[in-house]
């Protein structure tokens, strides 16, 4: 299917819009193959090249849609993994309500003892014969889960064999969050907010049919998920002086009596860095569009963290006696992080998370050094050791 045919199909769909109800419209769009055109027919797509999605999106601009951030984990991580590793039944069951936003997804990977070293997860999945065949019972603790309190399903990595080396004893599951063995608790951060959750699993039950990939191949499956996560980050075009820089520049302009020459040059340095970052993002998107994606994505995330931390640190210093104040420590559960909606102190503290969440800056530097620059890996001491024998 080429761009013209797709455009025609999209126009026809819009022209014959079946309903004004958002959910019904989205279901119809899915069934017409106009959800994600590169997915197979019958699963929301038309088997078309991924690059043609923009044709559809352009034609359907203004029609009822989901908040992409609300269903982001489902779209960006669960869906590609289900598509690649799910059985036909699993795909049929999960992809449509995922895409329409009827069912929200979360991701249960990280654990207190498995952060950067994700392959060290210790949540234990044990086999048990259930009423409808094989079930798995899961016990363990997951952490840093966004949306866990609103999610119906989770993608999850658990240890099925502790006697194997850590990468080999993992399996990958879909977990129904709506069951007694799943307890979700808010995880308060240094900002006072709780954007994330801890999830405690006590014999939580998963039917074997909801396993993705073979037993013991969870790490391989997780790679698909994580690859898609990395692609998703930093994908948006931003205007000049937006985001954190915009907030800090505004503060600067509104507080002329607080200017000092030292802070001025620091601000200008950050302005330059931010603009160079913005241009690098633009360049990266042009490379992607030209079909030649570069390896710069990790560098972008690294640079973004450095920049947002430097900028917000400067802003607090600029504000002097007002920098000593904070807007609100109340425990809140925001749906979204909005750097610009709150005060300098919040920005300063929240930005500290930018070098942790979605891969620490340290791990990103490892990735850049090894995968981009081709530097040798360090000596590994954990490759051939049974997971249960690793020092923890």
């Amino acid at each position: 299917m080429d761009a013209d045919a797709l455009r025609a199909k999209a126009r026809e769909f819009v022209a014959n819009q079946p309903t004004t109800d958002r959910l019904e419209f989205l279901r119809a769009r899915f069934d017409a193959g106009l959800a994600w055109v590169h997915f197979p027919e019958g699963l929301g797509g038309l088997g078309a090249p991924r690059a043609l999605q923009s044709v559809v999106d352009t034609e359907l601009a203004g029609t009822p849609d989901n908040d992409p951030r609300r269903i982001g984990i489902g779209l960006g991580m669960a869906a590609p993994t289900i598509l690649r590793f799910g059985s036909d039944e699993v795909k049929k069951r999960f992809l449509r309500p995922l895409w329409t936003g009827e069912e929200i997804w979360c991701q249960l990977f990280s654990e207190p003892g498995a952060g950067s070293d994700l392959a060290a997860v210790g949540t234990r999945a044990r086999r048990e014969n259930g009423r409808d065949g094989d079930d798995w019972l899961l016990t363990g603790q997951k952490v840093w889960t966004s949306s866990a309190h609103t999610a119906r399903f989770a993608i999850l990595l658990a240890r099925t064999d502790p006697d194997l080396p850590k990468h080999q004893g993992l399996s990958y599951f879909i977990l129904d969050m709506d069951q007694p063995g799943v307890e979700v608790r808010p995880l308060r951060q240094i900002t006072g907010e709780a954007e994330f959750n801890e999830v405690f699993l006590t014999d939580a039950r998963i039917p074997d049919a909801h396993r993705l990939g073979a037993v013991g191949e969870g790490w391989k499956v997780a790679q698909t998920t994580l690859m898609n996560e990395r692609v998703a980050i930093g994908g948006n075009a931003a205007p000049r002086e937006s985001g954190m820089l915009g907030a800090v520049a505004k503060t600067w302009r509104e507080n002329p009596d607080r200017h000092t020459s030292a802070l001025h040059d620091r601000l200008l340095r950050h302005w330059v860095d931010a603009e160079a970052m913005r241009l690098a993002g633009q360049r990266l998107r042009q490379q992607l569009a030209a079909g030649a994606p570069g390896p710069e994505g990790s560098a972008m995330k690294l640079g973004f963290a450095k920049l947002s931390q430097a900028l917000s640190g400067l802003e607090v210093e600029l504000m002097a006696e007002d920098g000593l104040r904070y807007d609100d420590w109340t425990l809140r559960r925001p749906d979204l992080v909005d750097f610009t909606g709150r005060g300098p102190g919040y920005r300063y503290l929240r930005a500290k998370g930018n070098s942790i969440e979605g891969g620490t800056s340290e791990i990103l530097r490892n990735i850049i050094a090894e995968r981009v620059l081709g530097l040798p890996s360090e000596p590994r001491v954990d490759k051939d050791v049974a997971w249960k024998d690793l020092p923890k």
Partner: protein, 341 residues
């Protein structure tokens, strides 16, 4: 004759006593719990510090103090920084106390504070409400710089309208203060000088608190990274982290020397302005750097409210603004050492 920058035995004994007391009263868990209580200050700890004489070390005996020096007070501040103990030490035992001492007035036993924005770095006499005053919510004596038609004056008030403010630093919150009735404590040049000395003293001694913060952050991080394992290794064995901690150690070494020198200068009265500018400029940034590295190198757990790392980060960042940001102190230094723009 060069200043003594090492700790004397007496100073080490003092440190040990204060550290013992803080171990009992200001554990991370206790400090964290108190942050969110009705009374963010630990008034019992504050009383005990007073009882052991730690709050009046540098006050001459004839003014009611211990007759030691700023060097000893600086050691107490290192320890308070190490535990981010929520006591009004800086506001009362340093800032207010310095005003009384300079003026030759007996230092009252009540908790006092100096009613200036905590970010002040030079004497300003104004009128009306004052924003972001440190340690005001538990003060019962207020020293107020007032601009009058007759010139600058320092006033003393025994009551004030104190409005607590949601503060970046959970362990030393600021408040807005309005004073209505007050008596004159000093006038003219005496008033200006006393305020100037108090701010210099505060900035110079704050450097020792910052050394305490930096030291605690560094060594807590080292301890955590020795225990924490990822990839089958202690995380502290990863060279990139080791090098960052080594750099931090280097900063701590210089920060301690600068803070000690400032304390000694405040004790002897020699080279005070340069010593304070150097210590304030240097130690502020070192403490923030150490606290930021502590949060980062603790990984996810350092981003959580339940871990004490954020208490140090918030204190360090607030201290960076307190009594003059580093760039203000560098600008002051430029004049003092003839490196003008």
């Amino acid at each position: 004759m060069s200043a003594t920058l090492i700790y004397s035995e007496v100073e080490e004994d003092l440190r040990a006593s204060v550290r013992d007391l803080l171990a009992d009263h200001a554990s991370p868990a206790a400090v964290l719990a108190r942050c969110e209580s009705d009374q963010p200050y630990d008034l019992e700890l504050w009383r005990l510090l007073g009882e052991m004489g730690a709050t009046t070390l540098h006050v001459p005996e004839e003014l009611g103090g211990q007759g030691a020096s700023m060097r000893e007070t600086a050691v107490v501040l290192e320890e308070l920084g190490r535990s981010v103990a929520p006591v009004p030490f800086l506001g009362s035992a340093v800032l207010a106390s310095a005003v009384f001492t300079v003026l030759g007035e007996p230092v009252p036993s009540e908790t006092a504070t100096l009613v200036v924005p905590f970010s002040s770095w030079q004497p300003v006499f104004s009128s009306g409400p004052v924003r972001s005053v440190a340690d005001a919510t538990v003060a019962s004596l207020f020293i107020v710089p007032v601009s009058t038609p007759d010139g600058p004056e320092l006033h003393l008030a025994s009551s004030a309208t104190v409005t607590p403010v949601t503060s970046l630093d959970l362990t030393r919150p600021v408040a807005d203060v309005t004073v209505s009735e007050s008596t004159v404590l000093a006038r003219g040049a005496d008033a200006s000088n006393a305020l100037r000395v108090a701010l210099l003293t505060g900035a110079g001694l704050l450097a020792s608190e910052q050394v305490g913060i930096a030291e605690r952050c560094l060594f807590d991080t080292v301890a955590y990274l020795r225990e924490r394992h990822q990839f089958g290794r202690a995380v502290g064995s990863f060279q990139a982290l080791k090098h960052r901690l080594a750099d931090l150690y280097q900063e701590l070494v210089t920060a301690r020397a600068a803070a000690r020198y400032a304390a000694d200068a405040l004790a002897t009265g020699e080279d005070v302005e340069i010593a304070v500018a150097v210590a304030a400029a240097h130690c502020s940034d070192v403490a923030v750097h150490a606290a930021e590295e502590a949060v980062q190198l603790h990984g996810g757990i350092g981003m959580t409210w339940e871990h004490p790392a954020h208490l140090f980060l918030k204190r360090a960042k607030a201290d960076q603004l307190a009594l003059g940001t580093p760039d203000r102190h560098r600008a002051a230094l430029a004049e003092l050492v003839d490196l003008r723009l």
